[in-house]
């Protein structure tokens, strides 16, 4: 009874959350695919994208809420700037925090510590530079109910996030499946040593993989900041959730990350319709554990190379 009460409404807001998780999850999954490394600093790439988009939008939007074509252009611009900043930070991250370790054949644990260090560094440098208060993004359009499905109201926010995310996800899927760059990524993911013997420049592919993940993460950071607020520690929770989504779908698997993100978003939202909202994360992570008990490699299984 309680589950059906708000079913469609919660499913829709869950899908909107899920799209954001999926965008971030791809950053984790791509990097894991080629390096078998959990890039814990990815949540800060997301944060950087949020700030990048925020500053551009703040400079352009005056007192009045824009509408019509200028809203569309502003959102597009914000997504692009967020993505570029995210990509740039991810690129630097790989250069500074990971590549030197890789050159020295450092053990896996060193990468993990380096990732955590980079993450803390970025959170705190942003806190120092931009303050630790949440900063609201100026409204880029008037958020309201656009249409309804099965009696559930669909807000402008959901539509914008879903469209932006879906376009990027399809684009990425094609990129990995069809282009030379995608071939390189898949080759390194399948077997890095053999790939290098076949003439694939591993360093370049890894760097490109980080940048692609960063572009998506940065764009997600902007979208998240647009719906909620921008803050120096905004990446932590979405980062953990997205990592969960990546594992849920099968880490290293691109479509798995998308599916995992959407499932996690919907489950979280529906989960609280019957119980106190404090149970939200308990339910979400309980389901994660259950899925992994029965399918240890996630819903769609591991491996970037094979699935894409």
């Amino acid at each position: 009874m309680c589950l059906t009460h708000n079913f469609w409404q919660l499913t829709i807001s869950g899908l909107s959350d899920g799209f954001l998780y999926a965008l971030i999850a791809l950053g984790y999954t791509l990097v894991y695919g080629v390096l078998q490394l959990i890039n814990f600093a990815h949540s800060e790439v997301f944060m950087a994208g949020g700030f990048g988009g925020l500053f551009v939008v703040q400079a352009l939007v005056g007192g009045k809420t824009p509408h019509g074509i200028s809203s569309v252009m502003l959102v597009l611009l914000g997504v692009i700037v967020g993505a570029l900043v995210g990509g740039a930070v991810a690129f630097l991250l790989e250069r500074v925090a990971y590549r030197p370790l890789r050159r020295r054949n450092a053990p896996k644990l060193a990468f993990l510590i380096s990732a955590i260090g980079a993450s803390l560094f970025l959170v705190n440098i942003a806190g120092k530079e931009f303050g630790r208060q949440a900063i609201p993004m100026p409204d880029l359009y008037t958020n309201g109910n656009v249409f309804s499905v099965f009696g559930a109201q669909v807000q402008t926010n959901y539509v914008v996030v879903a469209i932006a995310a879906a376009v990027m996800l399809v684009f990425l899927d094609r990129l990995v499946a069809k282009t030379r760059l995608g071939q390189g990524i898949r080759a390194v993911a399948q077997d890095a040593d053999t790939a290098s013997l076949m003439g694939v420049n591993i360093d370049r592919v890894i760097s490109q993989t980080f940048v692609i993940g960063g572009l998506l993460g940065g764009a997600a950071g902007f979208l998240f900041g647009m719906v909620f607020n921008v803050q120096n520690n905004m990446g932590f929770i979405p980062g953990v959730k997205a990592f969960t989504a990546a594992v849920l779908g099968g880490i290293g698997n691109i479509r798995g990350a998308v599916l995992g993100g959407l499932v996690l978003g919907v489950v979280e939202n529906l989960g609280v319709s019957c119980v106190e909202s404090a149970w939200r994360d308990v339910i979400a992570f309980g389901i994660l554990v259950l899925v992994l008990l029965f399918r240890p490699t996630g819903l769609l299984g591991e491996r970037l190379g094979r699935s894409a």
Partner: protein, 390 residues
């Protein structure tokens, strides 16, 4: 190579400088400086970083100002200085911050801790150290019944606030069904735990939910919308209430929204967006220095020193500090922590916000609760509940 050697030489040098600086500053503390007077410190403990830092900064500044004014007057038998410790407003941040202050031997009294959770975690340490702590803002009802020997607060507990807020919702807003949400914190649960029974006593249907701070309140907002209440009350802190407000408005909730003293901050309006925040009500045991004629001088001095208006709990912090200073004055040139804590029990000081005197358990006398509302993007006072509820 050149650079490497320089770095090698520079690091120990820099470290040495830090150590030396540390030594010299600690050796001057406690002992005489300036005409043979001893130096004592009044400390502030509260959140100076983290999501709800603004509340802490409001208080930190006011304590700083009171200490400066007392020194400037020049009639103290000792010199006062100001120190602070950041507990981020969290329970686990409390003990380390308290320990830091206890460890500084010249700290003679503490204003704070600011938040209830941090207070509960810190007070056992202060009691043990016989160090007076006067909170300007920790309103959780239980704090005065836990046997802390050196704890006082200059605001009435949430018992009073919760009851008055409930009566206001029932009798002035005329709500028949209220959706009460708390943030599961020490403070939030305490406040909703008083609000809800009182609402029921007033014949109002109550729906309860608890949600720990999160960024995404959309699911919660849908739940609220689905329940179709006449009013929503949020017991928590402003950063979260701002996001919750945003989500509620996006979900199409149009009814009255009300929060407690932890929600009342200008940052709430900024973070929720002025349009979303418009009309939101607050209950608060705090007076507003920017509108209270009695606090005019204080507000002007505050503005001159910090280039900002005093915020929520600035006047209470100022009062608490001045009450402590008034006690210190009576203790001569060399008071001990124990003496200060004992003497504070019988303080009777006319502050800006109220007459500060205490019941034996550390609870301040008198319980005036104010109602505030966001109007045209500003938080303005509506009146005291005593006047509004007829």
């Amino acid at each position: 190579m050149e650079i490497k050697t320089m770095v090698r030489a520079a690091v120990p040098l820099a470290l040495g400088a830090v150590v030396l600086a540390g030594c010299s500053s600690s050796s001057s503390g406690g002992t005489g400086n300036g005409g043979g007077k001893k130096t004592f410190a009044i400390a502030y403990q509260g959140p100076l970083s983290g999501d709800n830092a603004q509340l802490g900064i409001n208080m930190d500044n006011a304590v700083k100002l009171a200490v400066k004014q007392a020194n400037d007057k020049g009639d103290l038998p000792f010199t006062l200085k100001f120190v602070d410790a950041d507990d981020q407003g969290t329970p686990d941040g409390g003990p380390p911050a308290a320990q830091k202050l206890i460890g500084e031997s010249d700290v003679i009294a503490v204003i704070g801790p600011a938040f209830s959770g941090a207070t509960k975690a810190s007070e056992p340490l202060f009691s043990q150290a016989h160090l007076l702590s006067v909170s300007p803002s920790a309103t959780n009802p239980n704090l005065t019944s836990l046997g802390f020997s050196t704890f006082f607060r200059v605001v009435p507990p949430d018992d009073a606030q919760g009851k008055e807020a409930a009566n206001y919702l029932a009798k002035v807003v005329k709500a028949k069904k209220v959706y009460s949400v708390d943030d599961k914190s020490e403070y939030g649960v305490g406040l909703s735990g008083v609000l809800e029974p009182q609402l029921k006593t007033d014949g109002v249907t109550v729906i309860h939910d608890g949600i720990p701070p999160t960024k995404d309140y959309s699911a919660e907002a849908q739940k609220v919308k689905g329940a179709n209440p006449d009013a929503v009350y949020y017991s928590g802190y402003y950063a979260d209430f701002a996001l919750f407000t945003k989500a509620l408005k996006a979900a199409g909730y149009k009814g009255p929204l009300m929060g407690g003293d932890g929600d009342k901050d200008t940052q709430y309006v900024v973070q929720a967006g002025a349009a979303n925040a418009e009309g939101t009500l607050f209950s608060c045991p705090c007076s507003d220095a920017t509108v209270d004629p009695k606090a005019k001088d204080f507000a002007a001095a505050y503005k001159a020193m910090f280039n900002a208006d005093p915020g929520t709990y600035s006047p209470e912090s100022y009062d608490a500090t001045n009450a402590v200073i008034s006690v210190l004055k009576g203790l001569g040139a060399n008071p001990t922590r124990q003496q200060v804590a004992d003497a504070f029990k019988t303080v009777d000081f006319q502050g800006l916000t109220k007459e500060i005197k205490f019941a034996p358990n550390g609870e301040v006398a008198g319980t005036t609760i104010f109602i505030y509302q966001v109007k045209a993007g500003k938080i303005v006072v509506v009146g005291t509940t005593a006047d509004l509820i007829k």
